[in-house]
């Protein structure tokens, strides 16, 4: 493969990373906004959160992306394809993430909230100081799964000509005609990215476990050797 084609793939890889990280960051904001909203005592706020989740969980990210790129311009709104990609993926993943946030919040024992009431915290303080820090520990493993789903989902972006890894692969394939090598390389690159993301999430999990005073759960090798992690 010529250096130029290799540089193409590398650029594609960077675009995929941008899409994933951008959509993950924005999706996280949607997740927390909608997830916390579904736990609100206010029926309007709760309803809005529910609507977002049901709506965007049911819409295909690909169709949403098409809509942003090809339908929205009719309303006089031309989104940059990259931003459209990030927004479509974030809205979609955010709907799943909101359920994760809600699940994490609901799983915090009621006794914790009662203790916070006994100390006369406001509702917002209870959420911010007591519930969320504990809930986040429970949210991390499913968030890790969603991040990998998102990474793989970014490949829909090539359809609207965002030059991501899959798009770059197609270019290289057209140039060399070597489908087997190109797609094998893509498979491996996506897998490597996934492993990197998983490792990062796992590191964050350990850190959060530590901030709750829990010993980190033993890793795979420690577990099969039966060694207790310190």
């Amino acid at each position: 493969m010529s250096p130029q084609l290799f540089a193409y793939l590398l650029e594609g890889l960077l675009t995929t990373l941008q899409l994933t990280i951008g959509a993950a960051a924005l999706g996280l904001v949607f997740s927390f906004a909608a997830g916390i909203a579904t736990c609100s005592p206010n029926i309007v706020v709760r309803g809005a959160g529910r609507c977002y989740i049901e709506l965007f969980r049911g819409i295909s990210a690909l169709v949403l992306l098409f809509w942003f790129v090809f339908a929205l311009p009719y309303a006089g709104w031309q989104l940059d394809p990259m931003w459209a990609g990030i927004l479509a993926l974030a809205l979609n993943i955010g709907a799943y993430g909101a359920e994760v946030v809600r699940g994490g919040i609901v799983a915090v024992p009621v006794a914790q909230i009662e203790a916070a009431v006994a100390l006369n915290f406001t509702r917002a303080q209870r959420m911010r100081l007591v519930v969320l820090p504990q809930a986040i520990a429970r949210m991390l493993p499913p968030f890790g799964n969603l991040l990998i789903e998102l990474l793989k989902g970014t490949s829909v972006a090539y359809i609207v000509l965002i030059p991501d890894l899959t798009f770059a692969g197609q270019i290289v394939r057209n140039a060399t005609g070597d489908s087997a090598s190109v797609f094998t390389a893509l498979l491996i690159l996506y897998a490597v990215l996934a492993v990197i993301f998983t490792t990062i999430v796992r590191l964050i999990e350990r850190r959060v476990a530590k901030s709750l005073g829990r010993p980190p759960t033993p890793g795979f090798f420690a577990r099969i050797k039966g060694v207790k992690s310190a």
Binding site: A111, A115, A118, N120, F121, P133, G213
Partner: protein, 271 residues
């Protein structure tokens, strides 16, 4: 004790009525947990509630902590209604702001400690004084260190709750409650989850609190010796009603009511 003597003992022996339950009823489905309950406590008074499980003792504490609402009736703390407020000459359901104002005077220690696992010991104690009372971090830490020294845990300030024994956790929980400088301290079976040795440490701390402060205490406990030591009055509950109320010596040495006698008998046999 005659009916009128019980009635006399039901109202506070100290001057004024600081906490006042007026015809409070609470049902869970068909189960009437509290039935038209009336009783009052004076400021600084220490009252212990005894009685069989399910007789509504904990429900009283939970209502005072606003973790539960009465179905009918009112509860007053000082001059203020707890779950209601007066608006246009009528009693209406209290706003969150009103509840928070009145609740400021009350705090509770729970059976299962309920320390915040995401905070170290020191922050467990300083968090509410900083965020609720508006103390500076330094003031709150000074207060917390004093209280943690009182409960014998000033060497554990950097530990997480999960690294402490149950007895230590409960002592931190007591320090955390006292850091709010409450007028009313509610103790809900605070030693039931502890083995006897650890329970003794916790009860010693509470005896200290009773001796050195004038905080109003309302306890639910099965530790009868502790109840005798710290209480001004003991109330015997059965099926949502107070069936006997007396000073501890009288209640434990010569209970009037047959139900009280059998209850105390069974508690003694158990311990």
């Amino acid at each position: 004790m005659s009916q009128s003597a019980t009635e006399a003992a039901l109202t506070s022996r100290k001057d004024g009525q600081f906490i006042h339950f007026d015809k409070v009823t609470k049902r869970f489905g068909d189960n009437v947990v509290l039935n038209d309950l009336c009783f009052a406590m004076g400021a600084g008074e220490r009252v212990t509630l005894i009685g069989p499980s399910g007789s509504g003792k904990t429900t009283i504490l939970r209502m005072l902590m606003t973790l539960m609402q009465p179905d009918t009736g009112t509860i007053r703390v000082g001059e203020d209604y707890l779950h209601h407020e007066e608006r246009g000459g009528r009693l209406v359901e209290a706003s969150e702001a009103h509840i928070r104002k009145v609740r400021q005077r009350i705090t509770m220690v729970f059976q299962s400690f309920n320390l915040f696992p995401n905070m170290r010991v020191l922050r467990n104690v300083t968090e509410a004084p900083v965020h609720v009372l508006g103390l500076s971090k330094e003031e709150a830490e000074e207060r917390a260190l004093g209280l943690l020294a009182m409960v014998g845990l000033d060497h554990k300030i950097d530990s997480y709750p999960s690294q402490l024994s149950g007895g230590q956790q409960q002592r931190v929980a007591i320090a955390r409650a006292l850091a709010m400088q409450p007028d009313v301290l509610l103790l809900d079976e605070v030693t039931s989850a502890l083995d006897p040795e650890l329970a003794a440490g916790v009860l010693d701390v509470l005896r200290d609190v009773a001796k050195t402060t004038d905080v109003t205490m309302l306890c639910v406990t099965h530790a009868m010796k502790f109840a005798r030591d710290i209480s001004h009055r003991v109330l015997m509950f059965c099926e949502g009603k107070i069936i006997e109320a007396a000073p501890p010596e009288q209640m434990f040495d010569s209970p009037e009511h047959e139900r009280t006698r059998s209850f105390l008998q069974s508690v003694l046999e158990e311990s």
